[in-house]
C-alpha cells in the first residue's frame, strides 16, 4: 500500500504548488490591477490615515495643513483660502491631487526609503509626513491678485539669483477648501473659465514684443550686433512676402538696437531675427528653456513647453521648421506660444548675469522634529549668454522703463529693467493681450517678473501689465 501513499503525497505537492501559484497571482502578477480596482478602498483609506505634513510659505505661515477628521483620519485644509490654489494645489481622497501637494506627495506623507521606514517602525515612531517650506511670499501674491482685480491673467515672480519662485498668481482662481465637496470640485473642473488651470505654467500665449528680449539676447551674444548697431526702422517692410509695420505705422530712420528696444520697433527686430536665422535663434531659445518643460518642481502634466506651435497649436516645432516665419517670430508674433513662467525665465537669465537658474517652488523639507531633511539647492539650468552680453541687454531693458514704453513700471529710487508686449488677439475688435517682463534693481537684481492679462479692450503692456509688475516687485524688494 506504500506506492499509492507516495503517489497521494505527490498529488498533495501538486495541489500545494497550485495554491502557491494562485497566491502569487493575487500578491504579485495581478497585484497592480487589484490595487487599482475601483472597489478596493485600501489605498484611499490608507491615504486618509496619514497625517500629511503642512506646506508653508516663505514667512512660515501655513498654506496647507491637516486636521483630524472622524474615524482617525485626516483631512486637508488651506488656511489662506484662494491665495495660492495653483502653486500649492490640493489633496483630497475624493478628487485627487495637484500642484505641490502632488509633486511632494512622498515627502508630505513621510514616505522615505524602505530602510528608514523599518527603523521608524522599530522605534515606534508615528507615521507623520514631513513639512514642505516654499519660497512663496503671501504679501506679494496678494498684491498680484489685487492688481489683476479679477481679470484673467497670470503673474509670476522669481529670484533670478536662485530661481526661487515667489509669486505664482493665476486668475480666475478658486478656494481649495471647496474641493472637499465632490460636487463643487466637479463643477469647478467643468467651469469654462478653467479656474483649476495654472495660467503661469499651463497657458501658452503669444508673447508679443516681450519676445524681442530673446531676439536681442541672440543678436548681442552671438556677436553679430552690439546695442549700438544701427538698423533702418522704416515701416512697412515686407517680411515673408507680407507687409509688416510698426505700431501706428511710426517711421524710424537708422536707429540703434537700444532705441529699437526702447520704442519696440517691429521692423528692426524682424530684420534682426531674419538676419540671425533659425540656427542662432534656436540656440538661444533652447538655452533659455524653450521647447522643453521648465524644470520646475511641479507636476509634469501641469507644465507645458514654450515655442512655435503649428497645426493649429497641436505640434511644437523650433525656429528651423518650414512653417515658421522667423522675422515675425523675432517680434513675438507668428505661431509663438509661451508661458508666463518661460518669459520670467528670460528676464531672470538677463538679470542673473546670463546664467539661468532652475525655477523652483520648494525651499526645504523639514521633518516633524524640526530637522531639515532636504534643502532644495539653487541649481544652474544653463549659461545663456556671457555676463557682458547680459549687462548690455539689461541696460537696453532699463532704457525701456526709463524713457520707452515701460515707464509705468518705474520704481522710486530703484532702477527697473523691463520690456512691454501687446499681442494682437483680435484686430477687428481691438482685443489685445498686454505683457510685461522685468527685473530689478538693474544692479544686483533680486526679482524677475512676468505679467500678462488676457483679452483686454485695447490695453497695452505698458499701461495694463507694467503697473502690476511694478507693485509686485516693490513688495518683494521692500
Amino acid at each position: 500500500m506504500n506506492a499509492p501513499i507516495s503517489r497521494l503525497f505527490a498529488l498533495v505537492v501538486v495541489m500545494f504548488a497550485v495554491l502557491v501559484y494562485f497566491t502569487s497571482k493575487s500578491t504579485v502578477f495581478n497585484a497592480d490591477a487589484l490595487r487599482n480596482n475601483p472597489k478596493n478602498q485600501r489605498t484611499l483609506l490608507a491615504q486618509q490615515k496619514i497625517h500629511r505634513g503642512p506646506i508653508r510659505a516663505a514667512d512660515n505661515s501655513a498654506l496647507a495643513r491637516s486636521v483630524p477628521a472622524p474615524g482617525q483620519t485626516w483631512t486637508r485644509i488651506y488656511p489662506p483660502g484662494a491665495l495660492f490654489p495653483h502653486a500649492v494645489g490640493y489633496s483630497f481622497t475624493t478628487f485627487g491631487r495637484a500642484g505641490l501637494e502632488r509633486y511632494y506627495n512622498d515627502e508630505l506623507t513621510g514616505r522615505r526609503n524602505e530602510f528608514s521606514s523599518i527603523l521608524d517602525q522599530l522605534a515606534g515612531r508615528k507615521e507623520v509626513g514631513d513639512q514642505l517650506v516654499t519660497h512663496l511670499v503671501p504679501a506679494a501674491q496678494q498684491v498680484a491678485l489685487t492688481d489683476l482685480a479679477g481679470r484673467r491673467g497670470a503673474v509670476i515672480a522669481m529670484d533670478p539669483r536662485t530661481g526661487a519662485v515667489q509669486v505664482m498668481a493665476s486668475v480666475p482662481g478658486y478656494n481649495q477648501n471647496l474641493l472637499r465637496d465632490p460636487k463643487t470640485a466637479t463643477a469647478l473642473n467643468k467651469d469654462p473659465a478653467s479656474p483649476l488651470f495654472n495660467r503661469t505654467t499651463q497657458s501658452g500665449y503669444p508673447p508679443g514684443s516681450t519676445f524681442k528680449v530673446v531676439t536681442a539676447i541672440a543678436a548681442i551674444d552671438s556677436g553679430r550686433y552690439t546695442p549700438d548697431s544701427t538698423v533702418n526702422g522704416k515701416s512697412p517692410i515686407t517680411i515673408s512676402g507680407t507687409p509688416l509695420s510698426n505700431d501706428a505705422n511710426e517711421q524710424f530712420g537708422d536707429i540703434t538696437l537700444t532705441k529699437a528696444l526702447t520704442f519696440s520697433v517691429n521692423t528692426v527686430w524682424a530684420q534682426v531675427a531674419k538676419d540671425l536665422g533659425p540656427r542662432i535663434m534656436n540656440k538661444y531659445m533652447r538655452r533659455l528653456g524653450f521647447f522643453a518643460d521648465p524644470p520646475l518642481d511641479y507636476p509634469h502634466d501641469q507644465i507645458r513647453p514654450s515655442g512655435e506651435y503649428i497645426h493649429n497649436g497641436q505640434t511644437l516645432v523650433d525656429a528651423a521648421d518650414g512653417a515658421v516665419d522667423i522675422g515675425r517670430m523675432g517680434i513675438g508674433q507668428d505661431k509663438l506660444n509661451v508661458t508666463p513662467l518661460q518669459m520670467a525665465m528670460v528676464a531672470s537669465a538677463v538679470a542673473n548675469g546670463g546664467v539661468l537658474m532652475k525655477p523652483h517652488l520648494g525651499s526645504k523639507i523639514v521633518d516633524p522634529d524640526g530637522r531639515v531633511r532636504d534643502a532644495v539647492q539653487p541649481e544652474q539650468q544653463s549659461r545663456v549668454m556671457s555676463a557682458k552680453s547680459a549687462h548690455e541687454v539689461g541696460v537696453m531693458m532699463a532704457q525701456v522703463v526709463n524713457e520707452g514704453t515701460g515707464t509705468a513700471a518705474a520704481l522710486q529710487g530703484i532702477q527697473v529693467a523691463g520690456k512691454t508686449g501687446t499681442a494682437q488677439i483680435d484686430i477687428q475688435n481691438n482685443i489685445t493681450q498686454p505683457w510685461f517682463i522685468a527685473f530689478a534693481p538693474v544692479i544686483n537684481p533680486r526679482v524677475a517678473v512676468a505679467v500678462t492679462v488676457e483679452r483686454t479692450q485695447g490695453g497695452f503692456g505698458g499701461t495694463v501689465a507694467a503697473p502690476i509688475a511694478k507693485d509686485v516687485m516693490e513688495t518683494l524688494l521692500r
Binding site: P4, T23, G71, Q121, K126
Partner: protein, 440 residues
C-alpha cells in the same frame, strides 16, 4: 540523537517565532514605549513566549513518557502552526487570542486524554459502526432546532450555552476511522473480486454496500447543512483511503466522475452552491459584490493579498478596520486568516506557512508508510489526506483557486472545535507512529 531530543530541538524555532511575532505586534501597537521608558516589550512578549514554550515542553515530556518512539517532527510543526495562529489572532483581536490560548490548552488536554484512554488505538476498529453512527449524529446536530446556528447561509455550528462548536470537525475523524477499519477488511475483495462489465472491473456491490450507505448518508447530511467545504474534504478523504486500500485508480476515477455529476446536479438545483460559484467566477461583479453572502469576502481577500505583495506589510501593519470601526475583511480570524497572513507577511510568508503544512503532510504520509498493519496505514493516510484537503479547500477558496467555502485553517484559524479535533487527529497520528517505530 533520539527522536524525542530531536523534537525538543525542533521546538526552539517555534517558540522563537512566537516571541518575535508578539514582539512585532507590540512594536506596531506602540505598547513598548512606556512613559518612563520601561521595557515592556521584553517582559510582555517573553511572557507569552514562555507560557507557550512551557505548554510545548509539557507536551514534549508527556510524549517522552507515553510515546517515546513517535515521529519527532509532527508536534513541532503543529507548534509552529499554532504560533502563526496565535500571533495573528492576537494581532486581530486581543480577547480572541486569550480564548484561542484557552482552546489550545483544552486541545492539549484532549490530545493527552486520547493517548491515555486509547492506549491501543486499534480498538477503534471494533467500534467502527458505533463511530460511524456517532459521526452521522454529530453531523445532524446543527439541524436540531434550538441549538443549530446559521452563518452565511450554511448551518455548520451548534451552540450549547455559551460554547459554539462545529461538529463537522469531529465527524471528519470518525468517518476516516470508519473508512480505514472497513476497508482493511474488504480491500482484498475490492481488489480481486468483481464482475467485469464492458471490460471494466466493477467492484463487488456486497462489499461496497455498507461503505456507500454510511458515506452517502454523511454526504447527504453535509448537503443538508450546506457545508460544502467539509463535504469536499470528506469526499476527497474517502477517495484517498479507497485508493490507498485498493491501489486501483478506477475507484477514485469513478468517485470523481460521481463527484462531477453530483456537483453539476447540485449546482443546478441549489441556489447556495450557485451563489458560491458565481461569486468565485466574478468577484468584482457589482451585484454579487453587494449582495449579502456574495463575493465581498473573496474580493476583500484578494485586495488584502495584493496589498501584501511579495514581502508583506509587516505584522500589525495591514488595514483591518475601517474608519467607521467595522472590519474591512469579514471574519478575518477564521475563514480569511490566510488572507491576513498574506497581507502582513506577503507571498514569502504565505509560502512559508504552506511549506509547514506540506511538511506536516509529508510526516503524516511517512507515518502511514512506516506503519506495519493495514488499519494503521489506512488511518494515517486518511487522516493526513483529510488534513491536507482541509488546507487546500480554505487556502484555495481564499486565493480564488476554487469557490470559497467556510472551513478552518487547521491549528491557525480561531475556533475551539477545530483546534480540539485537530489535536485528536495529531494524537492518533503520533500513536500510529510510535507503534510502527517502536523497536520489536
Amino acid at each position: 540523537m533520539s527522536a524525542r531530543n530531536r523534537e525538543l530541538l525542533a521546538l526552539v524555532p517555534a517558540s522563537l517565532l512566537l516571541s518575535a511575532g508578539f514582539a512585532a505586534v507590540f512594536i506596531q501597537r506602540h505598547e513598548l514605549v512606556g512613559v518612563q521608558g520601561t521595557n515592556r516589550l521584553t517582559t510582555l512578549s517573553l511572557t507569552y513566549g514562555a507560557i507557550f514554550l512551557g505548554l510545548c515542553l509539557a507536551v514534549h515530556v508527556f510524549l517522552r513518557l507515553r510515546l517515546p518512539y513517535a515521529d519527532p517532527y509532527l508536534f513541532p510543526l503543529v507548534a509552529t502552526l499554532a504560533c502563526f495562529g496565535l500571533v495573528f489572532i492576537y494581532r486581530i483581536d486581543k480577547t480572541l487570542a486569550q480564548d484561542q490560548a484557552r482552546w489550545f490548552f483544552v486541545g492539549i488536554l484532549a490530545f493527552a486524554a486520547t493517548i491515555l484512554l486509547l492506549r491501543d488505538y486499534r480498538v477503534l476498529e471494533r467500534y467502527r459502526y458505533v463511530i460511524a453512527l456517532a459521526s452521522l449524529l454529530l453531523l445532524m446536530l446543527p439541524l436540531v432546532p434550538g441549538i443549530g446556528e446559521t452563518t452565511n447561509g450554511a448551518n455548520l455550528s451548534v451552540r450549547l450555552g455559551s460554547i459554539s462548536f462545529q461538529p463537522g470537525e469531529f465527524a471528519k475523524i470518525g468517518i476516516i476511522i470508519f473508512l480505514a477499519s472497513y476497508l482493511r477488511d474488504s480491500r482484498e475483495m475490492l481488489t480481486t473480486q468483481g464482475t467485469r462489465v464492458l471490460g471494466v472491473n466493477l467492484p463487488p456491490l456486497r462489499q461496497l454496500g455498507p461503505l456507500l450507505v454510511v458515506f452517502g448518508a454523511a454526504m447527504m447530511l453535509l448537503l443538508l447543512i450546506k457545508d460544502l467545504g467539509t463535504s469536499v474534504m470528506f469526499f476527497g478523504g474517502f477517495l484517498a483511503v479507497i485508493y490507498v486500500a485498493t491501489n486501483r485508480l478506477v475507484y477514485p476515477a469513478i468517485g470523481l466522475s460521481m463527484f462531477a455529476f453530483g456537483a453539476w446536479f447540485i449546482g443546478r438545483h441549489t441556489a447556495h452552491v450557485q451563489d458560491r460559484i458565481a461569486a468565485w467566477k466574478h468577484p468584482f461583479n457589482d451585484h454579487l459584490y453587494n449582495v449579502v453572502g456574495g463575493s465581498y469576502q473573496l474580493a476583500q481577500s484578494l485586495f488584502a493579498q495584493a496589498d501584501g505583495g511579495i514581502f508583506g506589510t509587516g505584522i500589525g501593519q495591514a488595514l483591518l478596520k475601517l474608519p467607521s470601526g467595522g472590519t474591512i475583511i469579514p471574519v478575518p480570524q477564521t475563514d480569511l486568516i490566510f488572507a491576513v497572513i498574506t497581507n502582513e507577511l506577503g507571498l514569502v510568508g504565505a509560502c512559508g506557512l504552506l511549506l509547514v503544512y506540506l511538511l506536516f503532510v509529508e510526516r503524516g504520509f511517512k507515518t502511514a508508510i512506516l506503519a506495519r498493519d493495514s488499519f494503521s496505514k489506512l488511518l494515517a493516510a486518511g487522516l493526513t489526506a483529510v488534513f491536507a484537503l482541509q488546507v487546500f479547500v480554505i487556502v484555495g477558496g481564499v486565493t480564488k483557486t476554487i469557490p470559497l467555502t467556510g472551513v478552518t485553517l487547521p491549528f491557525v484559524s480561531y475556533g475551539g472545535s477545530s483546534i480540539v479535533a485537530n489535536f485528536v487527529l495529531l494524537a492518533l497520528l503520533l500513536m500510529i507512529s510510535d507503534r510502527s517505530r517502536r523497536p520489536a
